[in-house]
């Protein structure tokens, strides 16, 4: 079985300070991985803001062209020459965005979005068929068309709206979802509902999910494999739980040490371990090095 998505040494550089300045930001630097090679999985991309995780997601969605390297979806490049191919690709890779309140137009009823997605990607025109497709997708996220029809975004709670956003993405029956920080704007009591939903989709519907986050705890909870990115570079990559149980790269260790949990609350002062921060900064300043394999299947960047 070939992989669903293959990222082959992809880099993305943005010019800054005008075209003539010659300066560039290396948002993504030589990233390679593949997703869905052994059946559906949740693949997590972890990194801070500025680590290039959103740029990577935009490249996978075909919204940005990589400066170097290649992204293949089911063996085909994701940057398409014509509109028809592009539409076919969009039906197979669907995004879920961070803030559901901004993803929906507040002046339009939410079922209009679902209907237009169904018409466009499933080539349906008869209303009953469109309704059936919408209801099927809403059932997958634990809602029904009857609950959602005729509602405006402000009439739904944040958690419901995020589930509608996921249902919309599921209408074309895509094999891959790109979820960029889908729970960071959702309240604590609803966060696990969304996270559990992503896991159910993998287990019961066979959808692979690229889950982009900076929350290590939910990443541990649902992901099969993950990459940790620091300033555009992959520093550690492989099976999720072994890596988060015992991160090896200095930056991964710093991230894990900075996660707040009730168990680690000491009542003393909160400080970021200076030696870890220093090691992480040194790794960033030093030569890029290369990814080296480990017996448990992970890759770690070493100078």
């Amino acid at each position: 079985m070939s992989a669903l998505l293959e990222i082959k040494s992809v880099s993305k550089h943005f010019p800054i300070g005008g075209v003539l300045s010659g300066k560039e930001i290396h948002a993504v630097e030589d990233v390679s991985f593949s997703v869905g090679g052994h059946g559906p999985e949740i693949f997590t991309i972890i990194g801070e803001s500025g680590s290039g995780k959103t740029t990577l997601a935009r490249m996978i969605l075909g919204l940005e062209r990589p400066t170097m390297g290649e992204i293949l979806f089911q063996g085909q490049p994701v940057t398409h020459a014509n509109r028809r191919e592009r539409l076919r690709f969009m039906g197979k890779v669907q995004p879920v965005f961070q803030n559901p309140f901004e993803a929906f137009n507040p002046l339009k009823k939410v079922d209009r979005y679902l209907a237009s997605t169904a018409r466009r990607f499933l080539d349906l025109s008869a209303q009953p068929a469109v309704d059936a497709a919408m209801d099927e997708a809403l059932q997958k996220v634990g809602l029904s068309l009857a609950e959602v029809r005729g509602r405006f975004p402000h009439e739904l709670s944040g958690g419901q709206l995020q589930r509608v956003a996921i249902a919309r993405a599921l209408i074309p029956n895509p094999p891959l979802l790109i979820a960029d920080e889908p729970v960071s704007m959702v309240d604590a009591s609803l966060r696990m509902a969304i996270v559990n939903l992503l896991r159910d989709l993998r287990d019961n519907t066979g959808v692979s999910v690229i889950y982009i986050t900076h929350d290590l705890a939910t990443a541990y909870y649902i992901s099969d494999r993950l990459v940790i990115m620091q300033r555009g570079r992959v520093v550690e990559m492989g099976p999720a739980r072994p890596i988060l149980d015992a991160p090896e790269h200095a930056y991964s260790r710093l991230l894990k040490a900075s996660v707040l949990a009730p168990e680690t609350a000491t009542g003393d002062t909160l400080t970021v371990q200076p030696e870890l921060a220093a090691a992480s900064a040194a790794a960033l300043a030093g030569p890029p090095g290369s990814l080296v394999g480990r017996p448990d299947g992970r890759l770690v960047r070493q100078a």
Binding site: E48, S49, S157, G158, G159, Q160, D187, A188, S189, L190, R191, M192, A193, V195, N196, H214, D215, L216, A217, T218, Y220, Y221, R241, L244, D245, L254, L255, K256, S258, V259, L260, A261, P262, E263, T264, A265, T269, L270, T271, V272, A277
Partner: protein
């Protein structure tokens, strides 16, 4: 320990009149609590639970349509007592920034993008401190040192600083007058994990240094666990539970709290985390009885009709639940309770 703030049966509603139709939203409904000097009091609750409205009243920013319809919120400052629900604008102006201060959420939208940081400090703090020129600058530079910021940031525009530095500047603005009481509204929500820990540490150090009290609002229970001395849980405009931090995590006595604690995932634990179904109630038309009953796994008939009082269930712990004796830590929380009680 002397209290610095006493909130007594506070009710603050949004009173609106659209086209002749009166609508009232009971955002803060009969909340009583007190906060001691030198204490960090955490307030947790989901969006639209009324925590922001409560904060608005505490920060003396009560503007229509928000209206205090009953109760009081009295500060006991060294300069005298002041009830912010009835004090006039002049009296509030006299304590603002000097005694009562506020750390805001979005550091990018708080700082004026067209003014240098030094100018912003002047705008904010020159008048309350009663200093100007080099004396003022000296004071600000001294304060920035406590925040581990170099004086050079005064010459920078906000966009030239990183997110963490901007948040430090915002904290600096709020604390440069050495206030007795600081309100921190989700000050770390938009930050990355490493920066978040750093900023929280800074807030805690400053608090110890200045001996002030902080009301810390966030929906992230993990943050509360690390910074708060006591936590109050707000649900649909009411205080449903209040306890010292450790007690709240090990022995919650309200089903909503038990759920919040149990739903926190953690590294090294893969047990199924429960998700709370349903949605927070509409405050314009809250359910009768206990407002949590439609989502509550323990609800009985009594909960649908009678409002449970906030009663003391253990030393320092208050809960508003008819069945608090039956509340047990949930699956994920049980594990956590065992670990914490070691």
């Amino acid at each position: 320990m002397a209290d610095i703030l006493t909130v007594d049966h506070l009710r603050a509603y949004y009173l609106m009149n659209y086209f002749g139709v009166n609508r009232e939203v009971r955002a803060v409904d009969d909340i009583s609590l007190s906060i001691a000097r030198n204490e960090v009091y955490g307030i947790a609750g989901e969006s639209s639970s009324g925590k922001t409205s409560l904060i608005k009243v505490l920060a003396a920013a009560i503007r229509p349509p928000l209206k205090v319809v009953g109760g009081s919120a009295t500060y006991h400052f060294k300069t005298g007592d002041i009830d912010v629900t009835s004090a006039d604008a002049e009296a509030i102006e006299a304590v603002r920034w000097r005694n009562l201060s506020y750390i805001m959420q979005g550091s990018m939208s708080v700082l004026n993008p067209l003014r240098k940081v030094g100018r912003i400090f002047e705008d904010f703090a020159s008048r309350p401190l009663g200093l100007s020129g080099s004396a003022f600058r000296q004071r600000v530079v001294g304060h920035l040192e406590r925040l581990k910021l170099s004086p050079q940031v005064l010459n920078a525009f906000p966009h030239e600083l990183s997110g963490g530095m901007r948040q430090r500047v915002t904290i600096g603005l709020a604390t440069v007058c050495n206030p007795e009481f600081v309100i921190a509204d989700e000050p770390t929500t938009a930050l990355d994990v490493v920066v978040q820990k750093d900023v929280l540490g800074l807030i805690k150090d400053l608090q110890r240094d200045m001996g002030s009290s902080i009301v810390f609002v966030t929906h992230d229970m993990a943050v509360h666990a690390n910074i708060a001395d006591r936590i109050g849980i707000i649900y649909a405009g009411r205080l449903v539970e209040e306890a010292p931090t450790r007690t709240l995590f090990t022995a919650p006595k309200h089903p909503y709290t038990a759920h919040l604690v149990a739903s926190l995932p953690r590294i090294g634990d893969t047990t199924e985390r429960p998700a709370l179904e349903g949605r927070p109630p509409n405050l314009a038309n809250p359910p009768a009885g206990c407002r949590f009953h439609p989502r509550c796994p323990l609800a009985i008939d009594k909960c649908k009709t009678d409002v449970p009082p906030l009663e003391t269930v253990a030393p320092g712990q208050r809960s508003a639940c008819w069945r608090w004796r039956d509340v047990e830590p949930l699956a994920g929380g049980r594990h956590r309770a065992m670990e914490l009680s070691k």
